[in-house]
Amino acid sequence: MYRYDEFDAQIVHDRVKQFRGQVARRLSGELKEDEFKPLRLQNGVYLQLHAYMLRVAIPYGQLSPRQLRRLAHVAREYDRGYGHFTTRQNIQFNWVALKDIPDVLETLAEVEMHAIQTSGNCIRNVTSDHFAGATADEVMDPRPWCEIIRQWSTFHPEFAYLPRKFKIAVTAAEHDRAAIRVHDIGLHIRRRGEAVGFEVHVGGGQGRTPHIAAKVHDFVPEAEILDYLEAIMRVYNRFGRRDNKYKARIKILVSETGAEEFKRLVDEEFAAQRPDEKVELPRAEIDRIHAYFAPPPLSGRPARSEVFERAKAADAAFASWAEVNLYPHKQSGHACVTVSLKPVGGIAGDATDTQMETVADLAERFGHGDIRVTHAQNLVMPHVALDDMYEVYRALEAAGLASANESLITDMIVCPGLDYCNLANARSIPVGQAIQREFASVEDQRDIGQLHLNISGCINACGHHHVGHIGVLGVDRKGEEYYQITFGGRADEKAAIGEIAGPALSAEDVPPALKRVVNRYRELRTDPSERFIDVYARTGLEPFKEALYAADQER
């Protein structure tokens, strides 16, 4: 993984020192909250319902064991013993005292971490495929380009005060695991012969006005990608609305301008760049960054592991977990392991300090020191030998991290909701837990198959409800929590925004209503391999809507 050079280290330490001074001035009363707020937001500090929340950047979701142990240390010493992994592959601490935050940032800086680009109207943490560098379906490892874009965007003076926040995601795999089409810019790395280039999608996003990004370029050569991104950002900076925050995201600009005209503006800006403005990225620099992401030295192992097969035969729970939570690795005899942070009745994305240390230890012993955070709020160890899998599983199981539910209905994305968030209208976590309990049986979940259920506590859509196969959106009705259901959303290469089924349901009505919906799906599927989203594509909304409200008709 990327390691700081002396300049990176200096920038981060200087930033901590600067923020320490700003916090001291706030605590003395020299700075009023209105003056302090933009400063704290530039350092990932929000004021939430109960306390300050510190969001720490995990660039493209990659962590080393040392970093994860340091996050565990922060959770234990400065928070309440846990952290919350987010849909942007970051981590949030919900209970950190403002007076302690400079110390937290200092201890994070020691392990090359910070909270820069986790808030404010800047280019945020670049996100990527959590299996990057490990699967056979990618044309290359996207992380070097994520890192190059991170370095280009960090403290870029031209893009420090954008109309709104700006999110970039990068994938290099045919199957999009990074949800690039619901980002402000989504980049898909392609190859044409020996040449590497980027398919560019612009104007995706969720929130109150969800949009799927428009493709504006099939192939921007790698040498030109930073200039092309700069052209997009300049068009956005110039024409993006600043008079209305709800219309300030680039998705609104692309939508109102029209994708064709927007592309013309970008091409015009790109063509107008003077030679001395161009970002000249020497081949040697590209190669230097790539070298940080050299694949781990995986020894040649047979595709079939007798140890693994024997363990599966002896332990049905392990066999079930292996079936669901392992993803094929490009190197034979290995697999990518999803460490589920979604136990039934738990809190999606939360991990305790000891759980983080368990994963750090396992990654060190068995995973070549590589840990990823997924946008679905799980952790991944991307390079584990099948021979070691049972030992890994048993350690995860002992730590409460072995739920066999990756991409199943209980593996839901859930925002913090009204239990933590100042913006939320309704609680997300309890309704998610109630749905999990309705579908708690592992056999039942496996029979249902892949089903992405996403829950947001307000229209800002941090829980990605718009792109859940089933989406649940909390709404406020005269102080009462209600939940609107959507069907048919998806975040992959066939990205779509879910359709609203109809009137919102009370919290207690949601789990049985979704049970009816899932049962209807089982009736409609031609065979168990036809997923919920496939049936939806074939049948449309009506049968699911009918099942959702069937109880109303009975009353």
Binding site: R26, S28, G29, R80, A97, L98, N422, G479
Partner: protein, 105 residues
Amino acid sequence: MTSVRPKLKPDVPKAITAWHTASGEVVWMTPKGDWTSNPDALGVFTGEVAEARLADARAAEGEVTDPYFMEVSETGEIRGRETLRETIRAQGPTTHPEFAKGEAL
């Protein structure tokens, strides 16, 4: 950014709540005008007294952050449109009942 807060008429009983700046802890103004993290000890204010106390709170910007009115009954129970939000602020996340508030600052 904070949530939208309903405007309360002068005669509606109200408490004043904020966040303790150094810790971020949720606090309420006591009848005497100082701050407590115990919701059972909050003061109930109305009319011009309430406005004056809120102005005092806003002037105390170093100690507390973003003070505002919340609706309560005459005896200090949380009331009104924001009952759920303010109850969660007072009691902690419903998913972590062990975090419920107690001690004064």
